[in-house]
């Protein structure tokens, strides 16, 4: 009997998924190629940065290359991370191990994040060399490098979440459209910032973080951590077994996040910014809550029933499925609307409510145009979102242009919640309130439509709830929600 050689490359305490992904990832040609090319280019740039006259150009190239690698190439490694496992059937085999859906997804992301970290650390000597020979702001450059890595790992979380989608074209559209738009925006920003005094991106980041002191940096870190959690938990939900209760953890964390933003806003006197941030968080949370399939596994409901009346209340907010997701999102919308109305103005609060109705509208369209047995609500949601927000919003803006130029209020914008904010901004001062009220009235149709669909969907899951109730209480009296 031959002895198997001992395999000690990674310690036991590392997650098995991270070990697997690192073993595979570090061997790929892409990683080796990127590493070698990056260093080759950075060596050349460092050699060129000697003269003061071309420092700005070299700095621009340096930023561009590092951004390309950390914020685009490395995150894109997650593009097929889960889809490949789904297609080859290996995800089934992973699911049968002790690895939870969350650990599988986290491992995929952590491997990309750690490879990015390796690359980032390998860039540090060049930053130091440029500081020694070029007199750059070392802290600013290191901070810039760190924020690029952070942006890259947040993007990696988004892309890993999208990779749970089997359809290549949908992933490609969702990934490359924002990348294209974001890339153009970032390029314009860098060009404008350079033309306006040659400020390096390092200084931009430094000034950003220094503007609010450590608080802003903490906020950025907090938001990044939440965004990573949001996208990874969204992905985990999509591959988890039907009996899992991930929605309880997810929705609790999101609620805490929104409440924290509000409290921070009140404590630091930046309630306006925090209110808008909370509204942004809310729109993502709604996407997640409204695309969960209604759960028909009795043990899921039994987990709530066994906690008495608090469990029955929690069931309405935290049980998996878009029906409870609607109740939960209504609670969050109410919270954010009241907060914005209190700290800013009633008009802005109304606009937040209308935006939420826009998201409910997409959820209602998904329910109207998909069959009851549709297991995956996220792809139609994304498609409707793209249609409504990209196509209609673009054509709507074109329609509005002649009216705006004439100085006329575009009353038709009250027909679609997505149009209303633009219509409101360009409306005649005297028409603003009427337009907003009319828009609110028309937007209310969509939560009403969704509510009707929710009543039916909730009814279909009644048998599962009853069975869940029986699992806890037997046949002795009472009934499920």
């Amino acid at each position: 009997m031959n002895a198997v050689p001992a395999i000690m490359d990674f310690p036991d305490r590392l997650s098995p998924m991270v070990v697997k992904e690192l073993r595979q990832g570090l061997r790929t040609r892409l990683f080796g190629g990127v590493l070698l090319t990056l260093h080759l280019m950075l060596v050349l740039l460092t050699l060129m940065s000697g003269g003061a006259e071309n420092a700005a150009v070299v700095s621009g190239w340096f930023d561009g290359i590092v951004t390309l690698v950390l914020c685009i190439i490395m995150p894109l490694r997650g593009f097929s991370a889960v889809a490949d496992e789904l297609k080859s059937g290996t995800l089934d085999m992973l699911a049968l191990t002790r690895l939870s859906a969350g650990r599988i997804i986290f491992g995929k992301w952590a491997a990309i994040a750690s490879q990015s970290l390796l690359l980032m650390l390998s860039i540090m000597p060049y930053v130091v060399a440029r500081f020694v020979f070029g007199g750059l702001d070392l802290f600013g450059e290191i901070a810039a490098l760190f924020y690029k890595w952070l942006a890259g790992v947040v993007l990696a979380a988004v892309i890993v979440a999208l990779s749970t989608q089997r359809q290549f074209w949908l992933r490609a559209v969702v990934v490359f459209l924002p990348l294209l738009i974001g890339g153009c925006g970032a390029a314009s920003f860098i060009m404008i910032s350079r033309m306006g005094g040659g400020m390096s991106s390092g200084l931009v980041f430094t000034s950003f973080t220094k503007s609010g002191g450590g608080g802003s940096a903490l906020l950025v870190l907090g938001m990044a951590a939440w965004a990573i959690f949001f996208f990874l938990s969204l992905a985990a939900t999509r591959i988890a077994p039907a009996a899992s209760l991930l929605s309880v953890i997810k929705r609790s964390v999101h609620l805490v996040m929104i409440l924290s933003l509000m409290i921070v806003g009140l404590l630091t006197g930046s309630s306006a910014a925090m209110g808008m941030t909370a509204a942004g968080v809310l729109s993502l949370v709604m996407l997640d809550a409204l695309t969960e399939r209604v759960n028909e596994v009795p043990s899921v409901y039994a987990a709530f029933y066994q906690r008495g009346w608090p469990g029955r209340v929690a069931l309405w907010l935290l049980a998996p499925g878009w029906v409870t997701g609607m109740v939960y999102s209504a609670l969050l919308v109410a919270l954010v609307t009241v907060y914005v109305g209190w700290t800013r103005s009633v008009e802005e609060a109304k606009l937040v409510a209308v935006s939420a109705c826009g998201t409910w509208m997409i959820a209602a369209l998904v329910q109207l145009f998909s069959t009851r047995k549709s297991r995956d609500l996220l792809p139609p949601f994304i498609i409707f979102w793209l249609i409504v927000n990209v196509l209609i919003a673009t054509f709507g803006s074109l329609l509005m242009m002649p009216l705006t130029m004439k100085g006329t209020t575009a009353w038709f914008t009250c027909a679609l919640p997505q149009f209303l904010p633009t219509g409101y901004v360009t409306a005649q001062a005297g028409d603003k309130a009427a337009l907003l009220n009319l828009g609110m009235l028309s937007a209310c149709i969509w939560p009403a439509v969704l509510l009707i669909a929710a009543v039916f969907a909730w009814g279909h899951a009644r048998a599962a709830r009853q069975e869940g109730w029986r699992m806890i209480h037997g046949d002795q009296g009472g009934s499920a929600v």
Binding site: N2, R23, S88, D92, A242
Partner: protein, 334 residues
């Protein structure tokens, strides 16, 4: 695992995909330590049933319990008892055989020396030790299949579900796989195997489950399946004699309970209107007493494939009178 209850209980299982009824009221149970073949045409509902049993899909309705645990309510407990080998191989790029098993051993909770010991045991059992440093996606089908079996055995599961394990294997690899399954059966594992190669299933399995259009149409042992005609109280026998077969034909024409089915080169196929062993022996005794130089006398057993196709034909004509599936009546296996 509670051995007082069957290892596998499937009750009135339904699963639909859109308008397609993939599984339509499937019920059966499997006792501990049994090897059961799962037979059906493509799209009959085998893989869907197996995936539900393996907690990889949810039943539309019905109940599935593995080792006493409901697959929907307690998937984690079921997974600890279960080894699953899908029809797709499921290996990874840029990963050696040893790393592949090491990853799954880690994922199953093995640590340190315990992990190495278990990997060693599995590699010895599946004869993969010489291939430890080979890339897992660069092996032959037979080797890959052994690797996948090794992976499924890492946590020493009591129930094994093997979906088309012999598909695409050459004869040598098939024999190796069959031997491995035989050893596992001797160790007392409960094994459910689906395959298209029915003759092999007949050799390996204690009983066979036949599924067609999402329904179990037969659950019994291979022998009863192959002797399908015994149901009608008839038996086909092959007889060969030394010399001219005409002597045999002449004898058969006058013998009671015997009809000539077909004349062959050195004898004949005879239909005896009895399935009783004593009657069959009596016919042979009479042949010898009447001076026929009998060289070969054996009961004809249909090939499993033929039996299966006949059965499907009978089902289509509503004339099938086979055994109903064995369904246990326990209402709570948990």
């Amino acid at each position: 695992m509670d051995r007082s209850q069957p290892a596998v209980v499937v009750e009135d299982l339904h699963r639909t995909f859109g308008t397609l009824k993939a599984v339509d009221g499937v019920s059966f149970s499997i006792d501990h330590g049994r090897v059961v073949g799962f037979v059906g045409a493509n799209g009959a509902g085998k893989t869907t049933t197996m995936r539900i049993m393996a907690t990889l899909d949810s039943p539309g309705s019905g109940r599935v319990c593995m080792g006493g645990h409901n697959v929907v309510h307690h998937p984690a407990k079921v997974r600890r008892l279960l080894g699953w080998m899908p029809d797709s191989f499921g290996t990874y790029e840029h990963m050696t055989v040893l790393e592949y098993l090491d990853f799954y051993a880690r994922a199953l909770g093995f640590k340190g020396a315990d992990r190495l010991r278990r990997i060693q045991e599995v590699m010895d059992f599946t004869d993969l030790t010489p291939l430890a440093d080979r890339m897992s996606n660069k092996m032959s089908k037979g080797q890959t299949q052994r690797l996948c079996l090794g992976r499924a055995l890492l946590h020493d599961p009591q129930i094994l579900i093997l979906d088309e394990p012999a598909a695409g294997l050459d004869p040598k690899a098939r024999v190796e796989l069959k031997n491995l399954i035989r050893i596992l059966a001797q160790e007392g594992k409960t094994i459910l195997i689906s395959s298209h190669i029915l003759s092999e299933l007949g050799e390996m399995c204690d009983s066979l489950l036949f599924i067609d259009k999402g329904r179990i149409v037969h659950h019994g042992d291979a022998e009863s399946m192959m002797r399908g005609t015994e149901k009608a109280g008839e038996t086909l026998v092959h007889v060969q004699i030394a010399g001219e077969p005409a002597k045999l034909i002449e004898w058969a024409l006058t013998a009671p309970l015997i009809k000539i089915e077909e004349e062959t080169k050195r004898g004949a196929r005879l239909r005896i209107q009895s399935a009783d062993d004593a009657t069959l022996a009596g016919v042979l005794r009479r042949m010898i007493q009447d001076g026929l130089p009998v060289l070969d006398y054996h009961r004809e057993e249909r090939r499993l494939e033929d039996a299966f196709i006949d059965m499907l034909g009978q089902i289509d004509n509503n004339t099938f009178k086979g055994q109903p599936p064995e369904v246990r009546s326990q209402k709570s296996a948990e």
